[in-house]
């Protein structure tokens, strides 16, 4: 049993983080708790600290909105947290869609869909095009374009304020990831993930590789939702510096050779 906790320590922590944040939002609306009010688009922590989704703000700027200072401060706080420290951790530690797509991925594995399905080619760069398109459409239509269709918002807003037909959208994402493309939504299409990938290029929290320990079992690559970031595995020691890495920690859990660990990025000694 202790092995179970060790092998899934980050996964369990992530689920706790995702669900407890959702619960705090839910409780704010349902029971009037004042810990975390609002939702993932914008919220108020401890009745004083504003928080906001920087990508939503970017879309709103593009749409031509004049915004009040509260939300700007909130956006700056969140942006600084991820860009300087946590990287793309939003996607694996906060975003509720991650639970949906992870379970689709899990089912894929059990049902051996990989070996049977016809491959649909969808580039990993599609999301950056969607990101660009989001900003252009926000500008043209005068409304935050992704916020109007985002299944992420539909899910977290739905859990707090009522789902409506949002269930259908979330089901679509689940089916798409399950039957159509592996990691289809989070790894290929989602512009919010693309935004955090771009902002995470310089962040401090990193997965570190210790090459001499590596036995080239490739368990890490098998479990990673963004395989391309693990390009240094077995080749050289160092940080996983890709912005696409979500810091989910799955690679660290599956590594039985102590070749991977979380650490702070080494900016000073480049050889370290």
């Amino acid at each position: 049993m202790s092995n179970f906790f060790k092998n899934y320590r980050f996964l369990l922590l992530r689920r706790v983080s995702q669900l407890s944040i959702l619960f705090l939002y839910f409780a704010a609306n349902a029971y009037g708790w004042k810990i975390l009010q609002g939702n993932l688009s914008a919220s108020l922590l401890f009745k004083t600290i504003p928080l906001a989704d920087p990508f939503a703000l970017l879309q709103m700027f593009s749409a031509g909105a004049l915004l009040a200072s509260d939300v700007l401060i909130g956006g700056a706080i969140i942006f600084a947290f991820y860009a300087l420290f946590a990287g793309r951790a939003f996607c694996s530690w906060i975003c509720p869609i991650n639970i949906i797509t992870d379970s689709a991925n899990y089912l894929r594995k059990i049902l051996y869909l990989e070996g049977v399905e016809r491959k649909i080619w969808l580039g990993k760069s599609v999301r950056f095009w969607v990101l660009g398109l989001t900003l252009i459409l926000s500008f043209i239509t005068g409304i935050a374009a992704f916020e109007m269709v985002s299944p992420i918002s539909m899910l977290h807003r739905g859990i707090v304020f009522g789902m409506g037909m949002g269930v259908a959208a979330v089901t679509c994402i689940f089916l798409f990831d399950l039957f159509a493309v592996k990691n289809g939504w989070c790894g290929h299409i989602c512009p919010l993930g693309a935004f955090y990938s771009l902002s995470a290029k310089q962040s401090l929290l990193r997965v570190k590789h210790n090459q001499p320990n590596c036995t080239l079992c490739m368990q890490c690559k098998a479990v990673c939702p963004e395989k391309q970031v693990l390009d240094i595995i077995g080749k050289k020691s160092g940080d996983i510096v890709w912005g696409e890495c979500t810091n989910c920690g799955r690679c660290i859990e599956v590594c039985q050779d102590n070749a991977l660990a979380f650490g702070v990025r080494n900016y000073i000694n480049k050889n370290g």
């Binding site: 704010a28 939702n39 915004l67 939300v71 459409l137 304020f161 409506g164 949002g166």
Partner: protein
């Protein structure tokens, strides 16, 4: 043999790059067209009532981040966030007065809760002793309108439910007394909405006794017509003052007015022209 003679086509990296970009742009154009079509439709939802202090609908849709903090702040659970499938701009706050009207809290908790300024305190504030204070009576959430055909007061039945439900009693809705010629001995007491004062809270719509409310709140832009600037009420001093400084001897020059009236009336020039 012929294969060897064929000129070898070299696909350069540059060609590959340009083709890839062109492909992506093509796909983006198709996706963007469908997406923007949805956006344009989704935001064109005129029949929606916003919380007090909301910006004009067009600006409101830009500025609202859909966080629901106004909804949480509302002590009466009047406000909802539009769910997917509600046929309203998704995630934006609204209320349905017939179900639950705005109870016009004096501290307007929904407005300061807004982090983006989509609900603007200035729009529901007035000056008191040189200080800006929140004043819910300034709110313009919509405008109540009466369907005279289904309002029983217009049948001659005394009702005044909306009149009494109005939080701005005898200001936003007044009762107009008229003689009921049908019976010859009763009065009509018919509700009249004063559009300058009505906040659109919807208490009247909630109180209305008919099966479907005969008095109901519409977004102001929908409820009202628009008289052009050149109509002036001559009997209203304020309105009449718009004429101050306007010179009255404006002469219009047209082809006809080049000649004095008697000249062109007397001449037959142009009459028999085709």
């Amino acid at each position: 043999m012929s294969n060897l003679n064929k000129k070898k086509i070299v696909i350069s990296d540059r060609r590959k790059f340009i083709s890839l970009m062109a492909q992506s742009i093509g796909l983006s154009a198709l996706g963007g067209m469908i997406w923007s079509g949805y956006l344009q439709e989704a935001k064109a939802s005129p029949l929606i009532l916003r919380p007090p202090g909301a910006l004009q609908e067009f600006d409101f849709l830009r500025a609202c981040i859909k966080c629901g903090q106004c909804v949480e702040a509302c002590p009466y659970d009047t406000l909802h966030l539009a769910k997917p499938g509600d046929n309203k701009p998704m995630g934006t706050p609204y209320f349905i007065p017939r179900q639950k009207p705005c109870y016009m809290c004096t501290d307007i908790p929904c407005v300061p809760a807004c982090p983006t300024g989509a609900l603007e305190a200035d729009k529901v504030s007035s000056l008191k002793d040189g200080q800006k204070v929140l004043d819910i009576e300034k709110a313009k959430m919509g405008l109540a309108v009466v369907d005279e055909e289904s309002c029983v007061a217009y049948w001659g039945i005394q009702c005044d439910a909306c009149y009494r439900a109005c939080p701005l009693l005898d200001e936003a809705i007044t009762l107009e007394y008229k003689r009921n010629a049908r019976t010859g001995k009763h009065a009509y007491l018919v509700p009249k909405v004063v559009s300058d004062i009505c906040t659109g809270c919807g208490m009247c719509e909630r109180a209305c006794i008919t099966k479907k409310a005969a008095i109901f709140v519409l977004p102001t832009a929908l409820a009202k017509g628009d008289i052009a600037d050149h109509y002036i009420k001559g009997w209203d001093k304020n309105d009449e003052s718009r004429l101050d400084g306007v010179s009255s001897d404006v002469t219009t020059k047209t082809k006809r007015s080049e000649l004095a009236p008697q000249d062109y009336l007397n001449s037959d020039k142009g009459i028999f022209d085709e």
